[in-house]
């Protein structure tokens, strides 16, 4: 199976071949590197830019004004704090112009911890991103969703931000991308650039098929009765694993919802599950104060309060200035498997 980052690359290839992508650009995005995570290796429309995030966003907006379909990368979301005003502009161009100008840009950026990234390669971005009205924000947790969400992001005529969980980029999927070869090694030989001189290398793209993951549609990855767990990105597989372990050890079953689309989010899926279980835990790794999960909690409390059987919970990263490089720091800053499992057990067993 393709890894998540290979899935992104396959989607971009599909996009430049079939969906009108005119430009794929950013820092180290073009040859020879093809992206620091290899997301853009071998793509026809990929090109390098100056190390200038503001220039990257502005150029994308200009290309979109002139009828192009750009996909731009911010190399790490941690580098995106100097572009917040431009992202706000990209999000409001349609509204501000009374519908005169669409802004069909895609921003992709690695987000979150898990690669020993220290202070400036471990940030989460979704809570910042959801304050950028006019944008749609998606975050896959596996390869197939990465492929399907990227294609939807490209096809959607609005600004769409694709947050890529750094820790999962090299994780191979369990679900096959339509058109992906059976053999992982074969896929790698076809689309991964060789180490060393790549000047003569050209990828051999598989015969991919169209596959859209609708924006705003969550995925129920585990089904159960003891509680509802809502997550996305790096912490999603932790929630699934914890659910499996708690079934083995305690006989407890959970609805585990992969939100996939952070805005717009699938309120119907959340509501149906919470009404069924009466218990809900939200898990992400963004910092604690004004965390996006708090918005979901607020709606759950306001709209579903009398259907809750236990207090609703949010498990999140700590409100500290950064994630320290020593793994003791990281493991004690953002949720890990043991903490997720304990929170789920507490959720399921609380008696009022």
């Amino acid at each position: 199976m393709a890894s998540l980052v290979q899935a992104v690359r396959l989607a971009l290839h599909y996009g430049e071949t079939n969906l009108g992508v005119t430009d794929i650009f950013g820092e180290d995005v073009g040859p020879p590197l093809g992206g620091v995570f290899t997301a853009t290796q071998g793509l026809k429309k990929a090109w390098n830019t100056p190390l200038d995030e503001r220039g990257i966003v502005g150029a994308a907006m200009g290309i979109a004004y002139a009828g192009g379909k750009p996909v731009f990368e911010i190399q790490f979301c941690d580098y995106g704090f100097n572009i917040i005003d431009l992202l706000k502009l990209a999000g409001n161009q349609r509204w501000a112009s009374g519908g005169s100008y669409d802004m069909p840009v895609v921003m992709m950026t690695p987000s979150g911890s898990g690669i020993r990234g220290s202070l400036y390669h471990s940030h989460s971005f979704e809570s910042w991103a959801t304050r950028l009205t006019g944008w749609k924000i998606v975050m896959p947790s596996d390869a197939l969703d990465a492929y399907g969400l990227m294609l939807s992001a490209i096809a959607d005529p609005n600004p769409v931000m694709v947050l890529l969980p750094k820790a999962l980029l090299r994780v191979k999927g369990e679900r096959r991308i339509p058109g992906e070869p059976e053999d992982d090694e074969q896929l790698s030989r076809m689309i991964d650039a060789p180490v060393g001189d790549r000047s003569q290398w050209e990828p051999q793209w598989p015969d991919l098929e169209e596959y859209f993951v609708p924006i705003g549609q969550a995925r129920l990855v585990r089904e159960g009765q003891a509680g509802t767990v809502i997550s996305y990105g790096r912490t999603l597989p932790l929630c699934s694993q914890a659910a499996d372990e708690l079934y083995e050890s305690e006989g407890l079953t959970f609805d585990v919802i992969d939100l996939r689309s952070i805005f717009p989010y699938d309120w119907l899926a959340i509501k149906e599950s919470v009404l069924k279980t009466g218990r809900v835990l939200i898990v992400n790794e963004d910092t604690e104060i004004t965390n996006f999960g708090e918005h979901l909690l607020r709606r759950i409390v306001e709209e579903l309060f009398y259907d809750l059987l236990a207090k609703p919970r949010l498990l999140q990263g700590k409100h500290i200035p950064g994630i320290g490089l020593n793994q003791v720091y990281e493991q004690n800053t953002v949720p890990q498997l043991a903490g997720v499992r304990a929170a789920m057990l507490e959720l399921a067993t609380e008696r009022v």
Partner: protein
């Protein structure tokens, strides 16, 4: 080189005033440059209309017909000359305009009726630029490649290379024009524009314009800026440039002509800095009161036309009165038009998308 548009007989006409006499005075001069009397009169008339528009807009900000005013009285000479030389149209074959909020003169010279400006000041639903959402002077006209003006200064310098990339690929003579004030050039986006427009073998047809009025809101430029000129900053990038007296119509016309010609033919960037007056302060925030100590480009042109016996004072007064009447009539009309309703708040947030199951048509409030 393309020559400036020839004046038609109509250009000489000012509402019924006998025009034949102007033909006896075909050229006005400034230093070693000249421009036809007909074109000067056309520019003068448009400048008078722009000034009347700005003054009526300032009145709106004080009368309650509108709120905040920001604009560019004092920049008419440069802006009208710029607007008249734009290749107007939609798509990369034409010029893109990344303007700032002092660009009424550019827009009126391109043909924008006064009412289209006043509708935004009056925050009407009929406002074509923003449906009553944005400050005045924040134009957006896709049919003319005028991309939405932002209140945030200087961000437009990051976007111009994007439209220029598409123009260069497309071929032709389209230029991405980007305009800002002098104070905004202190931010990095101005440098971004120079860097992105001069990447080796990938230079872009970006006309970087700075209308330098010597102030950033209330702060004098000479207390904050030590560079010899803003245009000189292009030297390190090999970007040619020019500093022009923005109160001299003839100098502005030819400086803009040279700048456009360079960008259109070489497909490379150019910096044009115009030293302009600021005749009503920065905006409502400084009271928008008339500043009497700075040169007025309209008066200067008027005196030149009168001195050359192309215009007399009676006719000049008539032109100003007609412009003022036109503005009053437009405002009276606009004030009768519809305001937005509560139902308009969410509209135009999202373009329709069949890939979005929550908002397939537009934003409708929180997901339900």
């Amino acid at each position: 080189m393309t020559t400036p548009r020839e004046d038609s007989e109509e250009d000489y006409s000012i509402r019924g005033i006998q025009t034949a006499k102007f033909l006896d005075y075909p050229e006005l001069h400034s230093k070693d440059e000249s421009l036809s009397a007909g074109m000067c009169l056309k520019i003068y008339k448009t400048m008078a209309r722009v000034r009347a528009l700005e003054q009526r807009t300032i009145k709106m900000s004080k009368s309650g017909e509108g709120y905040f005013w920001v604009g560019g009285p004092g920049e008419e000479a440069f802006n009208v000359c710029l607007g008249l030389q734009v290749h107007k149209g939609r798509g990369p074959a034409f010029d893109y305009l990344h303007l700032h909020y002092r660009s009424a003169g550019v827009m009126m010279a391109m043909g924008m009726p006064m009412a289209d400006h006043f509708r935004q000041m009056a925050m009407k639903l009929t406002d074509r630029h923003s449906k009553g959402r944005n400050f005045v002077g924040h134009y957006a006209i896709p049919e003319w490649n005028v991309v939405p003006v932002s209140s945030v200064i200087e961000v437009q310098y990051t976007m111009a290379p994007g439209t220029a990339i598409v123009q260069k690929r497309h071929g032709g003579e389209g230029v991405s024009v980007v305009t800002g004030g002098d104070a905004g050039t202190a931010e990095g986006d101005f440098t971004s524009c120079m860097i992105w427009s001069t990447r080796p073998n990938q230079a872009l047809p970006v006309l970087m314009i700075v209308t330098n009025n010597g102030f950033g809101i209330s702060t004098a430029a000479n207390t904050q800026h030590g560079e010899s000129s803003i245009a000189a900053r292009g030297n390190a990038f090999g970007i040619p440039g020019e500093v022009v007296d923005g109160n001299d119509v003839i100098a502005c016309w030819w400086a803009i002509y040279r700048a456009f010609d360079y960008c259109r033919t070489t497909r490379r960037p150019y910096i044009l800095e115009a030293k302009v007056s600021r005749l009503h302060g920065h905006s409502s925030s400084s009271g928008a009161s008339r500043v009497s100590t700075e040169a007025d480009c309209i008066t200067l042109l008027e005196e030149k036309l009168i001195a050359n016996k192309i215009l007399n004072r009676e006719t000049a007064e008539m032109i100003h009165q007609q412009a003022s009447d036109e503005a009053d009539t437009a405002v009276d009309q606009v004030m009768q038009e519809a305001d937005p309703t509560a139902d308009d708040v969410n509209r135009y947030t999202f373009a329709p998308s069949r890939w979005d199951v929550i908002y397939p048509d537009d934003y409708t409030g929180l997901p339900s």
